[in-house]
Amino acid sequence: MPKRAPRAPFLVLSALLLAPAPRSSALTAPRKIVDYNIQVELSPKEKLFTGNEILRWTNPSSERVGDLRFHLYWNAFRNDRSTFFKESGGRLRGDDADKDKGWGYIDVTSMSWDGKDLKPGLKFESPDDGNPDDRTVLSVALPRPVEPGETVELKIGWKAKAPRVFARAGYVRDFFMVGQWFPKIGVYEPAGMRRRPVSGWNCHQYHANSEFYADFGDYRVAITVPEAFVVGSAGALVSETKAGGKKTLVFEQRSIHDFAWTADPRYVVKEDVFDPAKDLPPDEVARAAKLLGRTEAQLREGFHPVKLRFYMQPDHVDQWTRYADAQKWALAWFGLYAFPYPYAQVSCIDPPEDGSGASGMEYQTLYTAGTWKALGRWPLDRVRFQEMVVIHEFGHGYWYGLLASNEFEESWMDEGINSFTEYEMMDRRYGSFIELPLGFRLPDEETGRVATIASRGIDPIIRKSWQYGGTYGLNSYQRPATVVNQLRRVMGEEAFWRAFRAYAERWRYDHPTSGDFFDALQAGTDRDLRPLVQATFYGTATVDYEVVSAVSRRREPFKGFDDRGNEVGFGNDSKKAEAKKAKGADREPYDSRVVIGRTGGIVLPVDVVLTFENGKSWRTTWDGKSGWLRLRTIYPSRLVKAEVDPDRRVVLDRDPWDNARYLEGWKGASAGRKASAYGLHMVQIILSTLWGLV
């Protein structure tokens, strides 16, 4: 088994010293609620973690707090009675739990405050579902309430066994992904925080679909493992000592709300640096400057070198450069359109293929990617999975990480916004997510959009993550991402991106809610976004625009009595009319009539374009409010095409195929014949291949 000795601490320190210091305002969270000092030792054979922590917690409210709440996440894997297991059935994202030996747990062995033992006051609570068997939330009754602004220091001892990994954290062989692993205090939200009316604990159970939410603070973590293990961790390595075949590595990081680490003797570590001087694409800086109304110099401000580490499985090492390329692009993009990454380093973990349950997961300053050996080889290398997962998981570092929304309650604010930014980054950088044979490409955004239009809305986007009726994925990822894209198109590029950046900057380290996001966008535009927000985020409405009918025919020549009582076109005038007709002198203009319709509860303004045989076209904008629009025109040239939403601005349109109608006289070729020819070819390829094989 390939092994690699950990890098000497001085190398890391010197790299950090050489890097220009990020602006302190960006690096430090304005409110520090927690401060963790943790020591943990891993016994790899038993998969056991023995730890103790000193937790300093400050009461952020103006009220006295009489009890504390803790997350004990690994108790989700304690048995099949936990809420997580009941909801997931022991299966998450395609990975199954090992129900034989794969169980895990976390037990608090001691807890004290000012020398007073708190253990007698410990009890489990299930605030979300009342499940008496769930052990993922621990309540601690205090001997006296914590005063407003007071900081308490708790000493906590604990022991945990890692589950065999299938849901984010755990082990497989000697690989350990250690996330949500220590007794972690919940968030005490003062009245007004996240728009809540009264103060109280926000400490949810571990659900199948829920992720995380915590307070910012400083972490110091000392990890003891056998010497052979390579350790990757959040934060910066500040010291390393060895004794008795073990080593202890100490990591520190300020202003984070989550701390994860990993250990595996097989890791091959690759290092790189994001250097803004060469890794900021000039064309993207210029584009961002134009969109955001800032100078390029202003945008470059705050960027600093970031140390990149890739903890690769030996069989994936050849793919690390794909991770690195995507990582640098993500750092550049987020720095331009949100704000520069404030930390000095970021670590990308590449889990083994049999530990794929750990892949694709976000933590702070560290995330897990994931690949397979086959994805590095033709023809699967045309799928940009590695890039996508890096961009996606690193992106979480902003929405779940730096803005720190509540993933339990508003999963879309992390997953949805992050999917939106992922689509944008993937398609701007790579043009597509998948490149099919013969150069046919599928953009990332469209793969998400198609899931949205193909779905039947049974849930609004905003729901607590455990309350969806089976639509958690759709309503947390693709649908909100597509709706944000729709909001962008309604607002216009400049207005949207300025509001988007303003949102990111305003809510950095500050736990925004859905309302804060909508307010930030609304502040950037005169258009009323509320109906669209209401219909999608709080409702299940859809929309479909279509050309209901389109006809164009010559207007009939005047027939009847004129104002002086003369017969025109009949009677005495009929011979004249026939003569005129014979000469072709009666050419009347065309009377063209078009009906555009809208179904579904979402109302969006759309453009309608009528194109005539002489090549001229006429465009109008319809507000969409009335449900249908009839257009009529008398024009010398015949109408040959009617189209609604020609610029494809309504990305939520459920059926874009009915958005155009071609009439007789259209000069263009038939796309149907072309597609049909390709279709025939495809069928022939299948059949002739069969003939070749039999």
């Binding site: 874009p656 071609y662 796309a671 597609a675 022939q684 059949l687 002739s688 003939w691």
Partner: protein
Amino acid sequence: METTKSPLAVGLSAALANRRLAGALWAAMTATAVVAWLPLRTVSSALDQSPFRETVLRGWDSWAFLSGIAVKGPELASFGAALAFAVLVSLAVDLFLSMGTIRVLRAGVRRPVLRRLVADGASLFRPALWGFLRYVVGLVLWTGLLAAVPALLLSKLAGRDAPPNGPLATAAFWWAVVAGTVVFLNASARFALARIALARDDAPSARGAFRVSRQRLRGHRASAAGIVLFWLAAGLLVQALFTNLGVGLDPSTNGGVLGLVVLRQLGFVLLAATRVGFWGSFLSWEEGRRPKAAWALPHPAFASASPAATPAPATPAPVTPADGPAGAAAPLDGAGGPSREA
């Protein structure tokens, strides 16, 4: 007269010389393709009344493709069902025509082709169908035994806690690939030879024909597999060439589309010619491995310099029952050869 050409050269000559035969195979394959293509045409014709009409004419429109999957579900489901049906029909047609092809090539008569193709195909269809079932069962069985089971054992040997892509896992993967390919090539060669045995009346049934093919293959498996591999590669090459060429042309006018269709069909005719070449090569190869009879004559298909030398008999030749694999070669039976039942 002994043929001095290699089986591949004979196959190439046969592919080039039997244009009508290739054309008939192409027509049959295209006719079955049309079965599946008709429902697809419903979807594609909708493009002409959609906002994708002009973008598709300009090239690839990913949103037309993806949204089409989402909103044209029932039409695409019909296409899927029709495709599955076409695959089954096409398989039967292939079996049917392969027997006729062998007979036509053996007769060495270039025209009329279609009547012979159909008559001989019909007369040998039933044993060919049994042979196909035998081929499928054999392929599955031998792939399981020689490729899957050893690969599985190697994986088991590595143990549950072995790191992914370790030496044993990699060995298992490559074993499965290589052994699977070898099994496929061998099974294909055997099935091809069994069909030849049926067509040459070396055996009255699929069972007997497979027995004959085993005897023919004994000691010569590599060269037989080489023939299968060569013609597979030739087919792939033709297909890749014409597909790339067609996509590269990307026409945007009706005339251009028509040109593209013609060009592609030319590719499929060439592909059909590779099938003719395949059978020509195998006939030649088999001829070289037949037990020599004092009166045996070279096969007309190989004496390509004098194709008209063996005219088709106006009436079927008298039936000479074959004696099985060890028996002497059956007389050249011509196009109106004996009808057989399995």
